[in-house]
Symmetry: C2
Subunit: 341 residues, 2 copies
């Protein structure tokens, strides 16, 4: 890419901040980072591709925000504190306006969550952004998908389905039965959820104190809960009963706009399988719920109990991993595919 | 991507090996890695885009090899020991034959250099591969670009220009004056250099014992030496004389096929500005050269002294960073742009 040196100097070096004197950020073949004692490194990586993970008309600052946010969300789900990241940016052409907007969005979220850009690669090609983000956890305190136990309650942060409904709003793809208009404020909320998801870094950092398992909801509530169930059964399968998740749909927290949409259409796909939520879904001991909820409320995050981990009845077959009820009646949904590893 | 879960399980989980019991590779929101005491983490990232960094017809196993090799080369240039990596793979469609070949090439190089795949992301989109590779250096022993001193000799590993001439061979873009044919063996050597570069991991791991600065040659010998000169002047600029690099072209090590091409055409572009070499270029005290050369020869790597770091004459202007002579006569070449950060 022409003049990549200046491009990096202008737009990305300012984000390489907060490093110690003996650490190294942008400017050599690699970054050099100190490691704190008694900690483990957590590494996550996510790619966003234009036309696949975001619409082509998305503002560059929003693309940047989301590219880092989805990675911070993965770190949060592991209980890790974000520390530094690298950026792989593939661009069709070097465009100053685009880069100015992109780097401003990246700076905004990087500063918000106190994470340093330490290196990466800019290349010419179809627009795509890959971030590898790194965080620290105290040794042995990473929160895995695999620790859910029978009797645990299933919780989520804030509200679900807003980003997916924001995408429906952009694409004009609401279920036909939807007649109600959204207010300007409601539309803004949905677009904000789609374009500027807030990763649950603070809740994530406390997870190790109470969560038995955790995941961030990127693929959809049902698909991601299925990962928790699968991982937990794989881990404990030999020594204990198999688990499944039961979700009470009427308890799933949604924005008032999303609630109206659900009531008018009965279309739960955005909430259950839309993904793009970047809320945390975790399991914990019921006895601790009230205390933890009062803690998270102090920094403005609501947590809601939406179901239980129960013993799975093997006679109901292999696919009985997440069962859904709506006001006590069974509800069926085909779960969507898997998207990260 | 459809069935991404099985894709990862089949093709990539087998590469997630060699981790300790309390570490975690593929299968959760993030990987969890132990950190050794008194070491720093080195992080590098490179993206290869189809049609930009490799031709579309390149075998998937070669794409995979190179995607990891170029990152291992960056780790080597920092003096780091490779430990683990993440893979961002963007594919137009899920194709078993392609994935089988790709994962076999990736396994081959990962096993050769004893580096574990610990996570990543597979997405749908135009073919591109991003690798973030991680290594350890003892604290304070990372080799930077910025340590070149007046009087140092400039060295390179093995031979230069082979990969770039391999690309000319593939594209049929030799300089017109070239009349000589290459033998089958010579063609294979050039293609091997292009498609399967061997990162200088072993030499890299010893660099801290003798190199004052180092870089891997990915952008081209002159461009990469310019980075060493710039970084060294920036670091020492306040307290000492500015440096520049002098290269004696007749000493630059090349394959016999490349030598014939140079003699017939005088076209030094592949050797000086082609890049894609993934050899190390480093500076060191002349007095230690013979000892170090005998050490690297023991594991089959030749190192050659190709020039000197000398004091820069400020009256010759800002662009006098790398000067070239061929058999004592000045030689001019416009350096190519910059490509990694």
């Amino acid at each position: 890419m022409a003049d990549e040196f200046n491009l990096i100097k202008t737009y990305f070096e300012p984000l390489s901040t907060g490093l110690a004197d003996d650490e190294l950020g942008i400017g050599d073949d690699g970054a050099v980072i100190n490691t704190p004692e008694n900690h483990q490194l957590v590494v996550v990586m996510d790619t966003l591709v234009s036309g696949v993970h975001f619409l082509e008309q998305t503002a560059p600052c929003d693309i940047a925000w989301k590219a880092l946010a989805v990675n911070l969300s993965d770190l949060a789900a592991m209980g890790a504190k974000p520390v530094f990241f690298t950026l792989g940016l593939t661009l069709p052409e070097s465009d100053d306006d685009w880069l100015k907007s992109f780097s401003s969005g990246l700076a905004e979220i990087a500063n918000s969550y106190n994470i340093a850009l330490v290196g990466g690669d800019t290349t010419k090609g179809p627009l795509a952004v890959t971030v590898t983000a790194h965080g620290w956890v105290k040794s042995g305190e990473a929160v895995l998908r695999s620790g859910a136990r029978i009797g645990d309650v299933i919780c989520v942060t804030n509200s679900i389905g807003s980003g997916a409904l924001g995408l429906k709003l952009l694409q004009g793809s609401f279920a036909e039965a939807f007649k109600g208009e959204f207010t300007v404020q409601e539309k803004n909320q949905l677009m904000q959820a789609l374009n500027r998801p807030e990763p649950q870094v603070l809740v994530g950092h406390l997870l190790h104190q109470y969560a038995t398992s955790a995941i961030d909801i990127s693929d959809g509530l049902v698909a991601d809960l299925t990962h928790i169930v699968d991982s937990s059964n794989q881990r404990f399968g030999e020594i204990s009963a198999q688990v499944k998740a039961e979700i009470y749909l009427e308890r799933v927290p949604v924005l008032s706009s999303v609630k109206r949409y659900l009531e008018q259409t009965g279309d739960w796909s955005a909430v259950l399988a839309g993904g793009d939520d970047y809320q945390l879904c975790f399991t914990m001991n019921k006895a601790e719920f009230d205390l933890i909820r009062s803690n998270t409320l102090r920094f403005g995050v609501e947590i809601t109990e939406i179901g239980r981990i129960v013993e799975r009845d093997p006679s109901q077959g292999l696919f009985n991993k997440v069962s859904l009820t709506l006001n006590g009646k069974p509800y069926a949904l085909n779960a969507q595919g898997y998207s990260h590893f």
